[in-house]
Symmetry: D2
Subunit: 365 residues, 4 copies
Amino acid sequence: MKYPPVQYHDYLQMDKILGSQTLRSEELGKKAHDEMLFIIVHQTYELWFKQMLFELDSVLEFFSQKTVDESLMGTAVSRLERIVEIQKFINGQIDVLETMTPLDFLEFRDFLYPASGFQSFQWRCLETKLGLKMDQRLSYNQQPFYKHLKPEQQKQITEVLQQPSLFDLIEKWLERTPFVQAEDFVFWKDYQRAVENLLESDKQVVNNNTRLSPEEKKRNLDQIDASLATFHALFSEEKYLGLQEQGYFRMSAKALHAALLIQLYREQPVLQMPFRMISALIDLDENMTQWRYRHSLMVHRMLGRKIGTGGSSGHEYLKAATDQHKIFTDFFNLTTFFIPRSQIPALPNQLKQRMGYHYLMDPKT
Amino acid sequence: MKYPPVQYHDYLQMDKILGSQTLRSEELGKKAHDEMLFIIVHQTYELWFKQMLFELDSVLEFFSQKTVDESLMGTAVSRLERIVEIQKFINGQIDVLETMTPLDFLEFRDFLYPASGFQSFQWRCLETKLGLKMDQRLSYNQQPFYKHLKPEQQKQITEVLQQPSLFDLIEKWLERTPFVQAEDFVFWKDYQRAVENLLESDKQVVNNNTRLSPEEKKRNLDQIDASLATFHALFSEEKYLGLQEQGYFRMSAKALHAALLIQLYREQPVLQMPFRMISALIDLDENMTQWRYRHSLMVHRMLGRKIGTGGSSGHEYLKAATDQHKIFTDFFNLTTFFIPRSQIPALPNQLKQRMGYHYLMDPKT
Amino acid sequence: MKYPPVQYHDYLQMDKILGSQTLRSEELGKKAHDEMLFIIVHQTYELWFKQMLFELDSVLEFFSQKTVDESLMGTAVSRLERIVEIQKFINGQIDVLETMTPLDFLEFRDFLYPASGFQSFQWRCLETKLGLKMDQRLSYNQQPFYKHLKPEQQKQITEVLQQPSLFDLIEKWLERTPFVQAEDFVFWKDYQRAVENLLESDKQVVNNNTRLSPEEKKRNLDQIDASLATFHALFSEEKYLGLQEQGYFRMSAKALHAALLIQLYREQPVLQMPFRMISALIDLDENMTQWRYRHSLMVHRMLGRKIGTGGSSGHEYLKAATDQHKIFTDFFNLTTFFIPRSQIPALPNQLKQRMGYHYLMDPKT
Amino acid sequence: MKYPPVQYHDYLQMDKILGSQTLRSEELGKKAHDEMLFIIVHQTYELWFKQMLFELDSVLEFFSQKTVDESLMGTAVSRLERIVEIQKFINGQIDVLETMTPLDFLEFRDFLYPASGFQSFQWRCLETKLGLKMDQRLSYNQQPFYKHLKPEQQKQITEVLQQPSLFDLIEKWLERTPFVQAEDFVFWKDYQRAVENLLESDKQVVNNNTRLSPEEKKRNLDQIDASLATFHALFSEEKYLGLQEQGYFRMSAKALHAALLIQLYREQPVLQMPFRMISALIDLDENMTQWRYRHSLMVHRMLGRKIGTGGSSGHEYLKAATDQHKIFTDFFNLTTFFIPRSQIPALPNQLKQRMGYHYLMDPKT
């Protein structure tokens, strides 16, 4: 009424969308029925990648601000959760693709050479914008990954590589968390003390256990000492830097301490959305990983395994990349540093209040 | 090597596919973030509809032949099963769409007027090609369903309405089943006798049951008689035609008898693929139904319910259409006529042999 | 080490769990292979119902308090979301059950008489605890639903019927929402004005539209008036009570106004978790509905449809119950009363601050 | 009526099933809410493992016969497909388990020591019955895998290890395939010739390609020679045995040739069910693999990664086992030996007829 009317078909540009499937096997004179499925599977993947990038870009924009407005946190989390929902969905798309048998694929496979999923520009953008670094990538055929892309795409991706990734922005955002250190509370000091008490009491249990042989006692005590050393690494600047260099951590200690605080005190109102943010990032990373893994299985099923050729097969490359291309591994590893809730140091009352809503505040304070 | 090389991006016509999302809200000066999701959800749906139609068309072609070559049965079943797999997959897409809240939808909803899913040409083709008849359709706004389509599409759909549907072709194919009547075996006669014996013995159990009061006895016996009448309807030409007229059956008696035979003797080699064909059609129909139902729930969630307006809401229309638009209902209802396997009449040996493979055949016969 | 060691098998009470499948067909001398699947499908359903009830009970406890501690909101929402995740999961279980064909079911169906899913005590508890009222239930065989349960279960369920349901507690919690009315802000007054302005400007557009015929103009204006009447119903106590009596609304006006406020201003920090709470309840209700619907389809597939018997079939009962047994329908219908975000009245600054975190507060205020 | 009545609750042994959840955290005085989820997730897994074993056992029985009756093929395939459906379903159960956060797990984790999924007797049976061999298993803590089981279970599993596995029985069944060699047709001879022709013509294309540099030519020709060598390995007894020793193949050459024949001529009526059998085994294996992989991701998420301890973490063990524990790898690798359908040697007419149904047979033959 208020706006010029629009038809479903035109609004969705159906002529273009439904007119973009040209069977190469047909063009080359040997029509292969299943090529249509192959094309449509990849086109829908790419449409979903576009959507994921669209959401990701908007979140990147939010987090590029000096401070993230609290009223945007709900939206930011929802958009990441939407990406997660899309991932869950498209991870199931392989079930559809696998209705194509290897023999059916063989009918048109040669016509597609050298096109390959490695040439998906949007997937590369997605990985890069999430935070996959150049030097973290598994090399493939001794060339930087973007050499498989079209020239203009190569230019674009090198620009994307310069921009701050979601990993970078989340790290900065975590480093700004205001509650890690307050007047009378230095989170990691209290936490370190709690850990030491916990492990000390574990040692006493071992020492008082008359059923254990001296060897067993020693083994148990050594184990506790190893745990203690692990925890110290998190809190000692020097040791942390060492572990970072060895590739055990990627994120800064400051950011990781904040992430730990958010995990441990997630029920505080002000930490509820940050907690969901971190959870969404873990989900997102896990789903990327699953996507790669399922694709490596599918490639094995479709193409088998060459005997005795020099180069690694697509299936093996994908399998190797599966874990190595994880981005927020620090958040997975962080759970190593959790202690049972009953041992977590209590927050000072004043700090707790600062973490609550204004309307809950005692007006006398 | 043998063929001109092709790049992923060009092969998949990415420029067209990824260049077909124009946010109308942006064009009209009020960019709404979630419109992108709305467009991509519908575009991927339509791509999958294209794939479903592509598979369906190939199956229609197979079944349009005078006789269906047995070596095509495996392919035909696999293609229907692929459609089923696609349906299962896209039924989950609503989970993604529902990450858009009603308030977010409202930001661009007015800009889309009067575009609507009712205008999906491919969905209408799909329903029609499967066998949804004009007069079976729930009317919407007192107009034939195709009035919402574009003029050229209206022409096309009326042509599709003239062509034999999958329902029609399956009916014909079933009617040609060679084993329903053989020299010394008329399936439905034997089956009728088996049913009568079964129900007769049920009656005796009731009559001999001393714990039952006369009223209970009567009620039980009446129930058995009702069952018997039901079975007779299937085998009496006259009664069958009557039930067909009332809309209880759509398929011919001859075809339905064959479907019953296939279901009951599905373990015979020659019936294994026909059994899978019928199962796939039941799955396919059930998934169409679920798709409609989930969409009716989603529409309720997105648009709510008007109070006191004359017209039915989209949500209520969809809900009503959900069941009424089922196509292979006969196959669902057919189970009413099954009897336990132990009571099913045995096949004569010679017939059984004819249902087996050539290589199994006793060379003396 | 600290606690007595435990073995997986004993901890999970595997002897009991895996020793609880007795094929009745085997006991009665006619072993039917598929009965095992039937039993295990139902046992796993019931285990998940136990888990859902366990989560639901904990949420009911939180909301039974006079005020719900804000630090519990995250946990409450997570537990509802867990129920939703369980529902999504078990809704897929029908795919497994449907690998049993009707003919296979028939091999043991008679042995189970009169056992039926209607006798699931936990499902009844779940519905009742969520808020399904006695008089809202579709009657089945002219008896209250609990007559199918075992005597001690009948006693228990009548007690559950007396206790406040999740619906009741959520209603009370919404009624306590502190922001619906503040010093200089009465939400529904402002909102009503915004709605009136919006519809008034729509009327002007119609009146100024020279392309419309007098009839079209009238139809459009009438439609706008109908919308206006709908909105008034929400804000006029008298009209609201009338609509409540007609069954259009179930929740109190006060609670629904708060739900509307939460939906419209969900980005305010203090409303982010309440918004997620309402979303989870909508998901939960939608999934219950889907569960019923898929079961009605499955029953149709398994049992077919009787011809000409008086009683309604299981399939038809389930289909009818599907929508009628929805609980939070008000939240679905509420979207009818949303207006585009750009038209929503802005919150006064002071109120906005009260909805934020303490740490964001300007110390001068 | 005919049988003693039974109630849902009693039939399903609900008292035992629903009475088998004892929170150890509660017994030990520190009730942890999420332990219930943990228990129920594992109990439902084990119920599904029981179902999978039940189906698998019935298939093992079919294939233990000297010849498998063709009328059992449909049932055998359906039961394997049911296992696949169960796997797909329970692979999604991790989404439910992951609603438990690591911190929540930590509240009761210590109480469970040393219970672990490694102690699942049924899972071990499943792997073993499918064909996972003792020496193929990744060792864990330098002990045979069954040392973690209870003593009576250890005895049982060593017995299972003696029995023929599904792998063994499928291998024997394939070796019996009657069509691999007929009067005037020796499949692998014809196939080898077809492969040689194909690769020879590839060589000519390379040699005639004037755009290639001598180096490129050489590389291409070397690649074709490598392909040829690969194919020869499949058909030369000696080379095959060599590859088998290196672990590239597990199945006998005879069986694998039959599998190749089934794959290439799957549209022949008599091969349609065998083709589905092989497809189901590939699906089943792929799903086992996915199950392991998702569990390794989940363990990483729950427990993190220890720094600098000697033993491998659960997460890394699971990841390593993921691929190594695959059973029907030969079927995946077999696709390496496929050639495009147009190049596959045609079957002699007489053989083709023998692969068809009796009823299709030309009576004159």
